[in-house]
Symmetry: C2
């Protein structure tokens, strides 16, 4: 089964979103779509006369911001994506983490920074997601979770994709789970300026070597750390690439 | 199985909403909750500097209004209600009509008034709703539907409750479906000023007599016409009452 994660670089461009949904809707067999937020939440925050609060590029989710991201992620984006998938013949069902208790999280503890109503994932509900998929439905997850006590929380969509992949793999070990991150580049690049430098496959050993020699640096490291945590937890592969790469079976494949 | 519909008179008051969710969460067996919109959409429309457009008390859903009602009904209200039900131990799953193709609608044809993106229901997906209930989930429907071609539509919540009741009854005729409308009065009143004048039971025959002698008039007529249409289509009973009445098994029961 396949889990595809799409973020702002797709959601902000109608043509790219349509192409991504064409690709996703045509996948064979059970699948889950995870989408992020994109810039719409910031637009609504501005339209309502509020200032987005960011620290180090991360959104601070105060109570009014939580209302707005819940409206935008779980309402506007999720339902339009679901309707678009329905129009493509894919029987999507949109979910926040509260729906069917899909993703349980806890409010991030305050250390140096108070992120407000940001949720750290405790676990995804693999059994319930399989029930939906067995019924022919395609879970479509937005980055809103809950704490089981009535509190909604704003959660990173990459984390949701990763935890969901781990949970569905654990719930049905015989099934090979392929987690696909659609991002800005054709894959993990040895040289960001050279489009032909994509690394086709990474193992924990080769990843460690690329980190040690300085080929893989910066923001790719948390992304790949998460990918290898998923692989170690039973996910069959994690593929990172842009939409053309994913469509053509290229990108960087992270395997055991 | 029980379908409960709650509207603005409940959604606008946190204490009333909590009491309604306590009642709903404690119901035995399969159940579906249908909620309306309440005043939050108008507040968000105002906060975004727009004017709600109404003709004869009905909202005109232009494109920006559709975005806002989708955000508020399918995002904010639906997800908070789902999280609140989860906190009460009821495994709710929030749905718009697009999710699992729960409610298919068509854009209301323009006759004298152009209602914009208002959806008239073509039918609810009883089989899918039973699949969810059989999996232990509690469908929680908001008043947003779709046309199957990617267009979301704003739809009356009473209509959604009625059509959902008919569809689940048709999909499983052996099951007695009880549709319960939570509204402002203890039931259908013979005399609106006399709290003891509630009519405990209505049949098509007694309803016709009350209409003929002028006891039942005005806004109750379309409500009761819908109720008897549901009963004629296989719904076991339609109960109309306020929350205390519904909790105590009172209200007006419409039966065959």
């Amino acid at each position: 089964m396949i889990i595809l994660k799409i973020g702002g670089n797709i959601l902000n461009k109608p043509a790219a979103l349509a192409e991504a949904l064409d690709y996703f809707a045509a996948l064979q067999g059970p699948a889950i779509l995870v989408h992020g937020g994109g810039r719409k939440a910031s637009e609504v925050i501005a339209a309502m006369g509020r200032e987005p609060k960011m620290i180090d590029g991360r959104r601070i989710t105060d109570a009014p911001t939580l209302e707005i991201v819940t409206m935008v992620y779980a309402g506007l984006i999720n339902k339009q994506v679901v309707a678009d998938l329905q129009a493509r013949g894919r029987n999507a069902i949109g979910l926040s983490g509260a729906d069917g208790n899909a993703i349980l999280a806890e409010k991030r503890p305050v250390k140096t920074i108070d992120y407000g109503f940001a949720g750290d994932v405790l676990g995804a509900n693999g059994a319930m997601l399989w029930q939906l998929m067995d019924a022919g439905l395609t879970p479509t997850l937005c980055p809103i979770t809950h704490n089981g006590k009535g509190q909604l929380l704003n959660t990173n969509a990459d984390t949701i994709a990763n935890e969901t992949a781990i949970a569905v793999a654990k719930a049905r070990p015989a099934e090979k789970v392929s987690l696909r991150y659609c991002f800005e580049f054709p894959g993990v690049m040895k040289d960001i300026k050279d489009p032909n430098s994509c690394i086709p496959e990474l193992t924990p050993t080769s990843y460690a070597a690329y980190k040690a020699d300085g080929t893989i640096v910066g923001g790719m490291i948390p992304k790949l750390d998460n990918a290898f945590a998923a692989v170690a937890a039973g996910v069959g592969e994690v593929v990172i690439g842009d939409l053309p790469a994913l469509k053509e079976g290229r990108g960087t494949k992270c395997v055991k």
